[in-house]
Symmetry: C2
Subunit: 214 residues, 2 copies
Amino acid sequence: MSRVADPTSRISLLRAAEEVFAERGLIGAKVEEITRRAGMSKGSFYLHFESKEKAFEQVTESFLARIGAMMPKPGHDMPHEPRELLRVWLEQDSQLFDFLWQNRAIVHIILGCQGDHVYLLQAFFRAMQENSCGWVRFWKGRGLFGDEVDEQLAATLICGAYNELYKKMIAAPKKPEVEAWLRVAQGMVVRGFGTTKLIRAYDASVHGAHGDTT
Amino acid sequence: MSRVADPTSRISLLRAAEEVFAERGLIGAKVEEITRRAGMSKGSFYLHFESKEKAFEQVTESFLARIGAMMPKPGHDMPHEPRELLRVWLEQDSQLFDFLWQNRAIVHIILGCQGDHVYLLQAFFRAMQENSCGWVRFWKGRGLFGDEVDEQLAATLICGAYNELYKKMIAAPKKPEVEAWLRVAQGMVVRGFGTTKLIRAYDASVHGAHGDTT
DNA sequence: CGGGTTACTGACCCGCGGGTCAACAATAGG
DNA sequence: CCTATTGTTGACCCGCGGGTCAGTAACCCG
């Protein structure tokens, strides 16, 4: 028999790598710094990863795979009442922003990707855009967004607005109160693209009595 | 007397540098590639610039200085009629997007800044945000945006939406027809934050007869 | 033409950092 | 304890690319 590998080595390295990549980006991150933070030797890095780039890709791509699942999609079980829909929308936004906050280091990394790794940034934005497109289509299907609304363009504008919000969120030292932000953003989108029916539902949700649900 | 310096050397180098920085970013750009494209020797680069970084800063910072001046600001001579204001707004947006298109290489460079040069990206976005804030304040002052509208937050959302538009524009091989985009964006903002008076003016401008001005 | 001055060149220098691997360390079994 | 096996280490290797500068080139004037 022989020496047993430390089962936590890889995890320590991944954690340290994520931290250093977030602080410095791929180029600025040094393998020596990563291994120093993990409390290991420089050479051991290559027992776990083929190269620095490969480690970078593992950190970022696994996150991108996860965010695909995290992205709320319109389903068959969506409520029919506009006001209830708005509540669900806000709830899902809130959860997504929580997720982005919890993974703010990786999000920060991805937002800085360029060169050979610009595909990661593009994949991230594409996921956002496509999801937003799906939602615009859904709203139109429910007759709650105007027929004349161009899906792609509306999704672009909506994504842009939300992008700016989560960028501001993750740049903050402590998680800000994003609920209010998300409500204002929802208001802009509803008024900007929604039908009278949806706008009325929104207004009622803003001025109406609070929910009695558990 | 002595040998006369080539007066176009510096300009050739700056042009080549801008090109290579846009394609590769700062790190990916090699001095040897820049000088090769300028048709000069590698060493001559340092006759004009202290370092690669300094050349990078010259390219980007002079653009940022210019965009400050290019950014349309609410002035004393603004029209009073909401519909005329909307027209001026669109015109200014169009001019700004033209400017961004003409300088798309540098914009692309700046959007990719990180690390030591992240201040450039931040300065760019800050200029956009502050300008947007100024406009939100102006609209509120004219009674055309709701009193309850939070300037900072509205400016953030508006900037985000417009950011996404110019990013899409500069990523295109040929300049797209952004006029339609800008009109939709304006519509979203007006409906999202404007008063009934402004919304009516917007609707009239969309459905009304076309201008007869020269 | 020769001399003096400045512009330009590209071979070279050298620090940086990703990656390697021989030597050492840790572990289990006999 | 010794041996075999696998894990880990960090000194070292080496390519890359920013920057240097001695040598060469260009130019003007006497």
